[in-house]
């Protein structure tokens, strides 16, 4: 299989790797670069566990061919904490007990981050819609929705 160069920015750092042509971004991130925060769930685009943010848009890394991301800005959950301090969404997920097994959590958080980046004061319906591509099979959705709304409320209070 031909190896091809893949070069992009991951959580603010330049990354360059050679991968098999046609390999998925999920595979490149987890097995070549070592960022295991995106999870490989269904590999069908159904569960959302592999969700990452590419150039500001939520995408599924399991269905994205890595070499199509050349020059892209990619964000994953592992890049959210700064200087050892959790991102407010991460903190809220913990505080609201919105992580049970935790497998869906990185994808949920990236979906929530895109929502709050574009809609700082979302309604409950906005949150449900934003998370509609992410499946959780153990936590239940209510704590997750509440964690996102709590983050939004805290953000608006900080901005006031």
């Amino acid at each position: 299989m031909a190896k091809v160069p893949v070069q992009f920015t991951l959580n603010g750092s330049e990354k360059a790797e050679f991968v098999d042509s046609g390999t998925t971004l999920l595979h490149a991130l987890r097995d070549k670069i070592g960022d295991t925060s995106p999870k490989g769930g269904c590999h069908q685009g159904t569960c959302g566990a592999c969700s990452v943010i590419i150039d500001g848009e939520l995408r599924l890394s399991c269905l994205t061919v890595a070499e199509t991301c050349s020059g892209a800005d990619i964000r994953t959950t592992s890049g959210l904490a700064e200087a050892g301090v959790l991102h407010p969404l991460q903190r809220a997920f913990l505080d609201a007990f919105a992580t049970q097994c935790g497998f869906c959590t990185p994808g949920m958080i990236m979906a929530a981050k895109v929502l709050l980046d574009h809609t700082p004061n979302p309604s409950r319906e906005d949150v449900i819609e934003a998370l509609s591509g992410n499946i959780c099979r153990c936590t239940g959705y209510e704590p997750i929705i509440e964690a996102v709304l709590t983050t939004a409320r805290a953000n608006s209070q900080n901005a006031a």
Binding site: D20, S21, G22, G45, R59, C62, T64, S132, G133
Partner: protein
């Protein structure tokens, strides 16, 4: 499974590469990469084109042209396509909508392809390097098609004339039990003067509800007026059976949902 990807700036070059056995066109990846991930060994190589015309939306003189690489999210947020926003938003969750393309949706087998149902109701034409084809002809031949779809084009419906309904068991996002798109025009006296109704999941690909369309002409959109159309809605259908719903169930609920669509 890794697949060699070839990228071409020109659609013509990508078309030539796509003639090799085992190659599939890579649009948003929601069909072909999924197939590869599931172990479809018939896919041995991927081809794509970065031609910028594939990503453009033009609206002029009531006519719309959407490049094949335009995503559902781009359609949903386009201010001049507000009439179609609800239908574009019905496709998958946010991440899928950022990836799924108009061109790919035309090839999506039932229960997917909700936007193709919309395009069928809109009487769209499908563009390739070889010219344009009516969408019904394209859908009939799509399985053997090797020409890259470059665009779709249609007349923009007035918002009040266009109706869309996706029925799913999981809200807000779920796979279709069925989907219905309709373009209805009414005369001054309130009777239906023209009707195009397209159905999703009632065959292996989007299909027209011709008997229902015919029954609607000259009728009012009230309980009595739509009765004949609802009775005829299942004519010619061959619904799919999948984990979402059986063919029997889809056939049973089609008149119910068509009625709701017509009477709202």
């Amino acid at each position: 499974m890794a697949l060699a990807l070839q990228t071409f700036s020109a659609v013509r070059d990508a078309n030539a590469a796509l003639k090799a056995p085992g190659t599939r066109y890579l649009g948003g990846g929601t069909l072909v990469v999924r197939a590869a991930n599931e172990g479809d060994v018939s896919v041995t190589g991927l081809v794509r084109s970065t031609d910028p015309t594939l990503s453009g939306i033009t609206v002029a003189g009531g006519k719309v042209r959407i490049g094949a690489s335009v995503t559902m999210a781009a359609i949903a947020r386009h201010p001049e396509l507000a009439a179609l926003s609800k239908a574009a938003r019905a496709v998958g969750g946010p991440a899928i909508r950022n990836m799924a393309t108009v061109g790919g949706n035309l090839f999506a087998p039932a229960p997917y392809g909700d936007f193709a149902v919309v395009l069928l109701a809109l009487d769209a034409t499908v563009g390739t390097d070889d010219g344009e084809l009516p969408i019904e002809d394209f859908l009939a031949r799509r399985d053997g098609s090797r020409a890259i779809v470059t665009s779709v084009a249609f007349a923009l419906p007035r918002a009040e004339n266009f109706r869309f309904l996706k029925v799913s068991r999981v809200k807000p996002k779920g796979v279709s039990v069925l989907s219905i798109a309709a373009v209805l025009e009414q005369a001054g006296d309130g009777t239906v003067s023209s009707a195009r109704i397209a159905l999703g999941c009632m065959a292996d690909r989007p299909m027209r509800a011709r008997a229902a369309e015919k029954a609607l002409i000259g009728s009012r959109l009230d309980q009595d007026g739509v009765a004949a159309a609802l009775a005829a809605a299942g004519e010619g259908t061959s619904p799919i059976t999948d984990p979402i719903a059986s063919a029997w169930y889809r056939a049973e609920v089609l008149p119910v949902h068509l009625g709701r669509l017509l009477l709202t």
